[in-house]
Symmetry: C2
Subunit: 214 residues, 2 copies
């Protein structure tokens, strides 16, 4: 398959594919001669993964490169490789550790993790972007004047724990390591939109049930 065909089958313009090649999001094709390169199904698949990350997941190009680097790094053990790929995904801006709301949020989130018994996650607080995102979001709620207790988050966390269990069960259905890592990334960039959409649909459904269409 040559560039033109890769473009046609993926629906991505040749200019954009060239751009991705330049940016290292797509490995170069097999060079047949000085002016021809041959691409295969693996390129097509990778290209679609890149598009899904960028367009649906809104992952910046630089992050995509980083994530793919981890996917392709066979030297890493499973958990690290998976974690590395997921941790490279886009986050909320860094919390300002000076800010009083951020400090209070840290304490609250730590208390929440204790209450939940998530002892493993607790060990990761210094590195996990998910932990930092949670701190930022809680601090934003507080800053704006909404005060809810940590206990309000506990049922949400338990539902999310069950969701995560489903995720991993689904992931384990894939036989190869590479497929599993790829699936985990898709889970993060595509499953989250799915969850979000289901969440809003559920809100609409429940709102209509409670209040009708008034």
């Amino acid at each position: 398959m040559r560039l033109a065909e890769l473009s046609e089958r993926s629906g991505v313009s040749t200019a954009t594919i060239k751009y991705y090649l330049r940016e290292g999001l797509l490995p170069p094709g097999r060079q047949v001669n000085a002016t021809t390169a041959e691409y295969d199904e693996e390129h097509l698949r990778r290209l679609r993964l890149v598009r899904a990350m960028i367009q649906v997941g809104r992952v910046p190009v630089a992050k995509v490169r980083e994530v793919l680097g981890h996917v392709d790094d066979d030297s890493l053990p499973r958990t690290i490789r998976l974690g590395a790929a997921l941790w490279a995904l886009p986050q909320v801006p860094e919390p300002d550790e000076e800010d009083e709301y951020v400090q209070a949020a840290h304490r609250e989130v730590d208390a929440l993790l204790d209450q939940l018994g998530w002892t493993n996650a607790k060990q990761l607080t210094t590195v996990s972007p998910a932990y930092r995102s949670l701190v930022v979001a809680v601090a934003a709620f507080r800053r704006i004047g909404y005060t809810f207790g940590t206990e309000l988050l506990v049922p949400y966390a338990e539902l999310m724990y069950r969701t995560a269990t489903l995720d991993l069960d689904n992931m384990e259905a894939y036989p190869s390591q590479a497929e599993r890592v790829e699936f985990a990334i898709l889970g993060a960039v595509l499953n989250e939109p799915v969850l979000q959409a289901l969440h809003r649909l559920a809100q609409e459904e429940e709102t209509a049930r409670r209040y009708g269409f008034e």
Copy 2:
């Protein structure tokens, strides 16, 4: 409170506040004379809401203006006002209805809603952005070569339904209409990051429990 103080208390630069005023995200202050305006706590609160939407929720400025327009529109009945505000929130790009994957995704999502018995949501498929987001995400999964049955989504949908129930219960705890609408928006722009963060933390916790830190 004058502009400089509003800036200091919110941590937003005066230049940015002026920009928000110009863009209509913030109502003008009470004009004391030709060169002085007075702002109050309501301005501060609104400014913080705007910052939360833009920085944590990544809502584009134009969308923020639209959402706030609905929040302030007292003429609308409750459900519509809430729906209008939520539907104005950012989405995934419009699905290309010509695309075969999109068409297949439509059928699948419809089948899912039937299976779930979400008859109210089913009536909203032509207008609901959440429905369209779901279609786009499912189509993206398919395009990339992952084939999972609708039944895989059912348990996720049920968990999200329970999440939505929690949301509405929490919302009903607020007495005034304006607070409820504001809370619903915060729920959409801040609670979703919270859920997402809890989700990833739960994934990390469960991964560690299953596979250790290898």
